[in-house]
Amino acid sequence: MKEITEQSVTITTEKARQMRRNIISMLGQAGSGHTGGSLSASDIVACLYFWEMNIDPKNPGWEARDRFVLSKGHAAPVLYAALAEKGFFPQDYLNRLRKLGSPLQGHPDMRKLPGVEASTGSLGQGISWAVGMALAGKMDQKPYRVYALLGDGEIEEGMVWEASMAAAHYKLDNLTAFIDNNGLQIDGRVEEVMSPLPIPDKFRAFGWEVLEIDGHDHRQIMQALNTARTVQNRPTAVIAHTIKGKGCSFMENRAEWHGVAPKPDEVEKALAELS
């Protein structure tokens, strides 16, 4: 059980704010990309990278490291912001998001950027990667833990449930999957597009430990991570209630901000709100 201190919450909160600023700036410079889902996941990813995970930016290939798989690969900017902040690569890489020759591809590419654990972008596949890594960890009796982040639209993919079945079948208690439950996908509200509800009951029925939290409350995220570490013989799903576009009032809860980058004046407005 890791202690959740005032100081740790202050640190992750500040990191999340800095990450959101970088997300806005990098997308502004790129001129395209996925804004809403990067901002909804910022608090979860900040807690993982700056409180929970045992990783070493100087040694990204370290065998015993914890592993994070961004299954909702379109939210690449939130991963890049965390990796840059953690020191996996120089901050100025962020200026070249989505540009020709850049290691910061439109979707995460593990062959181009250190710290990226899986090449994702086709929804549903990352959770299976995470199952594979967790299974290998069990087999080799390695102490590392594996984390995955999925979208609530993403879980409409049948593959997610194939992976969930396998994770429970193999009793992968070293695996924690966060569902970024922001209620929106491209075409609108998840329950209107193709309802995946009720999400907690589904994971429970598939044999997972299920926690529900406010995905912007750092204490709750940390508590969920603490709990997941104590669960035995089954994986943990953390259903994180979030707001798509969180942190920029004019983007919050708006499906239009799914796959659109902010224009220069919008970048300015957003950064002012995140200062």
Binding site: A30, G31, S32, G33, G73, R98, K99, L100, G101, S102, L104, Q105, G106, H107, D109, K112, S119, T120, G121, S122, L123, G124, G153, E154, E156, E157, G158, Q185, I186, D187, V193, M194, P196
Partner: protein
């Protein structure tokens, strides 16, 4: 968002038009009144494939399946079994996600389903290599009985959409993400299974499809300045390939260059080579992506980096000409 319809007001040749996906979405709307037998299926990317136009105009004939392509593909087969003609629409890479369903439920079962894929090739641009399908033509071409079509401009998309609707059998059609030039003349007429000579020439034939046709025409202009006369063929049906026209071009121009925004393995180039081997052999060169994945960048930058611009087509034509035996 609404732009002037492609059918009512033909744009001037060479002027910039809709993207192929926009043209497709609008064509569905135009066709809906005359053909009440088709429905449109989407997997949470209607704005991306252009089918949002159809959803707005004909909500009762539009079916949303969420982010679940495999299910959508097999559902389409079931709908087709009742006599409906389903258009299954998503990005090209996600059609590959439902490949086995397309193989078994659609093609093996002989169902009349139209698979229409947006976002093929390097033309996808900044989303990067994971989103750029460079193998879809090869993959779908390899399914027995699957017709494969890749129109070149908005006018042809409109005509091809109607043609595949009138054809009874499984079809895979590629549209495209980026706005494209209007390259085909107003009197152009698409015929399923036929290539068309867009510009005549005697020294070589460039056979192109999709967005690469515009580059082929530019290449022919550049070559003309060097007194090389290149014929340009729009081979918008990749399967079944127009053997007759290819044999004629091989005979009359003595060499062939293929050009496609696709891996050189398995796509248009391969289809042409297979045809030449079986009918009339001649030297041939292939312009396409050389068995690599793409990456983020603007489509024109990528075309340059991966060797599919007009300049590369010119080089290939010159090489093919030197390989001719006199």
């Amino acid at each position: 968002m609404e732009q002037p319809g492609t059918s009512q007001e033909p744009l001037l040749l060479g002027s910039s038009g809709d993207s192929l996906r926009e043209a497709f979405g609008k064509s569905l709307v135009t066709l809906a009144d005359r053909y009440d037998n088709f429905v449109v299926l989407d997997a949470d990317v209607a704005g991306g494939t252009g089918t949002h136009h159809f959803r707005r105009a004909y909500p009762k004939r539009f079916f949303q399946f969420g982010i679940a392509e495999q299910n959508m593909m097999a559902v389409a087969a079931g709908m087709a079994a009742t006599g409906l003609v389903p258009f299954v629409t998503t990005f090209a890479v996600f059609c590959l996600r439902a490949y086995e369903q397309a193989r078994l439920s659609v093609a093996y079962a002989g169902r009349n389903v139209k698979i229409v894929a947006s976002h093929p090739g390097l033309d996808v641009g900044p989303d990067g290599g994971s989103a750029q399908a460079l193998e879809d033509l090869a993959a779908f071409r390899a399914i027995p009985g699957m017709v494969v079509v890749s129109p070149a401009d908005p006018l042809e998309v409109e005509q091809a959409t109607e043609a595949i609707l009138n054809y009874n059998g499984p079809v895979y059609m590629r549209t495209g993400r980026s706005p494209v030039l209007r390259v085909l003349p107003a009197d152009y007429s698409f015929e399923l299974g036929k290539g068309k000579i867009i510009q005549d020439g005697i020294d070589a034939t460039i056979v192109a499809c999709g967005v690469e046709l515009a580059r082929a025409l530019t290449a022919a202009d550049l070559l003309a300045r060097e007194s090389i006369s290149a014929r340009v063929v729009n081979m918008s049906t990749i399967k079944p390939i127009d053997d007759e026209l290819l044999a004629k071009c091989a005979l009359e121009t003595g060499c062939i260059v293929t050009a496609e925004d696709h891996n050189i393995y398995g796509g248009l180039g391969s289809a042409v080579a297979e045809s030449l081997v079986g009918n009339h052999l001649c030297p041939a060169e292939m312009v396409g992506i050389k068995d690599r994945f793409g990456e983020s960048g603007e489509p024109e930058e990528l075309a340059e980096k991966y060797g599919i611009t007009a300049d590369y087509i010119c080089k290939a034509v010159k090489k093919a000409i030197t390989r001719k035996q006199y």
